[in-house]
Amino acid sequence: MRASFVQLISALGHFFTSRIDRLGLAARFAGALLVSLSIALGRLPLMFREVYFSGVRSLSIVAVSGLFVGMVLAVQGYEVLQRYGSAESLGVIVALSLVRELGPVVTALLFAGRASSAVTAEIGLMRATEQLAAMDMMAVDPMSRVVAPRFLAAIFSMPFLAAIFSTAGVIGAWIIGVKLIGIDDGAFWSQMQANVDVRIDVLNGLLKSIVFGTAVGLISVFEGYFAAPTAEGIATATTRTVVISSLSVLLLDLLLTVMMFRGLS
């Protein structure tokens, strides 16, 4: 009884100290990454190559998801709005939902699943097959050559993808609301134009996606860089990237929403 209690305390202690240890490792890694950013920024073609792999190749999933999310929002929104006789507000409701929340958040979640997991697996495999060690032996810093461009690509891609998601969503809502349900086309667009504020809504939404891009990018490169060099290690790292990125995005969204939109009403 006493022995199992000691074991429990020991296991709890190990659980918390290992997490604190990992947080410290992540902080040191972020510091080293920050230092290497200046070199990576001097070699923009490397970053744009990663923007292609992470961002451009995520375009289809982001655009299609945005279209469907916009359509669903339109169907659900119309159901509620028509009860109050304000179906013409469908455009503004959908646009605000997308630009403020769903665009940045869902894009970041899709990005974590589609691109960040691939980045983690790629860096993890490069480590397992000694490609990073070979680079280091050739006096080329893997942080600035491999890690930093992928991190920057996530930050750079995210706002564009979020904007594309929101645009596709608005088009989806227009197809459902105007073309299929028959809401007035002019009212749909004019209400949206009148009530969506560039600074409060659009810029805050873009700012959110930059923060999400930073978080998701950092998590993906960190997990890949420290993945155990085994098949199981890389699988675990990839899963951790998706889980931790998704939770971080949702938590950050809550914090940012409170900071940005508190007291606006």
Partner: protein, 269 residues
């Protein structure tokens, strides 16, 4: 201040290294002269690859001194270490080719990263290196399209791209067919002579190694067990080297992993 002679390319003095509380190397003294090819041999987990890590500065010893070209490697700053590494080439166990680059771009990588040479000159240099390893016509293949031996030869061409003064080989013959082993062995010897390099080879392949090295250093239990000429290996009656050379399953290196007595464990309820 550790003394260093001009003729010495690498000098390790009283080097101790351990991972956490597991000692790997204990009091290693080793000097390698310019132009020499030496083999580091010993059982698995005996610290051979660790020794390469110490020479290249990827690992730092707990105590002792590691000198390469007169520079105290563990004390070098990152920029100084990278300066030294431009003069060190390393062939990894499975080549470590960049899988997203083709053969040409893999070999061109050190030139593009470390020099400001124009692309036409890089092309000429890459073709020269690929010709030296017999793979000029494979320049457009991706690493996934290469056999193990070809990948090792491309990695060798990449490792010697900047004409290093020191070449480190981490088990260069592992997993290769006899023809590829012969090719890699001859290339190591030829390149060492042509480029005036000093080579350190970590290997288990006794037959090929003895044909090309000047000295064999045998590691055992974290120490240098013997430092001898290759021809002595075949004639020595040292039990550890005999077990290693003849591939005997039991001997100074036991077959069974250390643990409890077999009989007492069987009888244990």
């Amino acid at each position: 201040m550790t003394s260093f002679h001009e003729s010495e390319m690498i000098a390790l003095k009283d080097v101790c290294f351990s991972y956490a509380d597991r000692p790997i190397l204990n009091g290693i003294d080793l000097t390698i002269k310019r132009g020499e090819i030496i083999a580091i041999m010993g059982g698995s987990g005996g610290g051979k690859t660790t020794l390469l890590g110490l020479i290249s500065g990827r690992l730092k010893p707990q105590t002792g001194s590691v000198l390469v070209k007169g520079l105290e490697v563990p004390n070098l700053r990152q920029s100084e270490l990278y300066g030294l590494r431009r003069k060190i080439g390393m062939l990894f166990q499975f080549g470590a080719l960049f899988t997203d680059l083709n053969v040409f771009d893999n070999v061109a990588f050190p030139y593009r990263e470390q020099t400001n040479l124009p692309e036409e000159m890089i092309r000429t240099l890459v073709l020269l290196k690929l010709e030296a390893v017999g793979l000029r016509s494979a320049k457009n293949l991706m690493p996934a399209e290469l056999s193990g031996g070809m990948a090792r030869r491309v990695a060798l061409a990449r490792a010697v791209a900047l004409d290093p003064a020191v070449m480190l080989y981490d088990e260069p013959f592992t997993g290769l067919d006899p023809i590829s082993v012969g090719i890699i062995g001859r290339l190591i010897k030829r390149l060492n002579r042509a480029l005036g390099m000093t080579s350190v080879i970590v290997t288990h392949d006794l037959n090929e190694t003895l044909r090309l090295v000047d000295r064999v250093v045998v590691l055992s239990q974290g120490k240098i067990h013997r430092d001898m000429a290759p021809e002595e290996i075949r004639s020595t009656d040292d039990p550890f080297i005999r077990q290693f050379a003849d591939g005997l399953p039991d001997g100074p290196v036991p077959f069974h992993y250390p643990g409890r007595d077999y009989w007492s464990e069987l009888m244990d309820q």
